[in-house]
Symmetry: C2
Amino acid sequence: MPAQRADARRNYARILAVAEEEVATHGADASLEQIARTAGVGSATVRRHFPTRHALLEAVFRERIQALATRAHELSEADDIRAALLDWLGALTVYSATVQGLATALLRAGELDPDHANPCVTPLAEAGEPLLRRAEQAGAVPPGVTPVDLVTLIAGIALAAQHHPDPATEATRLLHLTVTGISPPG
Amino acid sequence: MPAQRADARRNYARILAVAEEEVATHGADASLEQIARTAGVGSATVRRHFPTRHALLEAVFRERIQALATRAHELSEADDIRAALLDWLGALTVYSATVQGLATALLRAGELDPDHANPCVTPLAEAGEPLLRRAEQAGAVPPGVTPVDLVTLIAGIALAAQHHPDPATEATRLLHLTVTGISPPG
DNA sequence: TGCTAAGTGGCGGGGCCCTCCGTATCGTAC
DNA sequence: GTACGATACGGAGGGCCCCGCCACTTAGCA
């Protein structure tokens, strides 16, 4: 017996497809009602499949987050570990700044369920961990930095660049600034 | 003749006072209707005095922004210009992370009136300019950094730290990271 | 004290989010 | 092929919010 009925699965897919477009257009604040309307289902059905807005966003971004995680794993074995880390951070930045709503999803942690970790950040942080650790061991990164720090920081940068006419390049500029440091000591 | 009638001025003050509390509690998304209700005026009156939400936020934060600007002017004549800059950035960070809605107000530029500069950022950027310029001349800051960059970056950091249990210290930590650099060259 | 324009606020329209509950549909067992 | 039970659906209704309109009140000048 299927865990889900066939029509439920179909609706899930329809809703997700519509949500992707809608989020791409209107960002993380896209109207759930509008998504339901376009998908031709009742708004209750949307809420049934995605109990919270964040759950929907997570599903929408899952593939892209997975892609970034894969990238991190590949890069973690590169020769030049610093270049690899910067490469990954750059990709993360461009994604966050380009894909509407991603940065918001990364930051808006489980605001009301604080015990439950943000399911968008976690895979990224875990994937980036080896990369960061190797960089740290190579002395390319100051000690005490966590993967979550990096993801959080970059999401913040992306959000800050959101309003800019060209978010991706603006975010990349700001990233470059924080990589080299605003005012490195000594 | 007064540019405004006395009662209008009174209402303005009442609304602003209520808005300060309401924004302090609920952040930048505070309900304008709720503010109107608490202030004992119609919602139309709120909109008349503050045509946009951003206008209201600007008024709410004006004094604090002014204080930060003053601080920047004082610090711009300090002996240790790097310490002075970092001092200011730290203060800016703590404010942005602590005062509910400030970071949002700093980032949400004139989203619909792109020609008009963000009236929250501008005074800060102008005030920070001499400070930053001196720091740059002293070699404490890489060239090409603008005051707006700094304010934007810090607002982003504050927003990123928003969800954290202790936003101020988390934001300060992240600031420290971007000041020293994630992975400074050389 | 009257007049005029500045100022007010209630009302209605449009949305959105969320929940409840009667109903339709799927998948199975017969 | 049919009948049944669990699963899933979606419309209706309540609550809240933003926004614009327009008849009414009131402050301040003559």
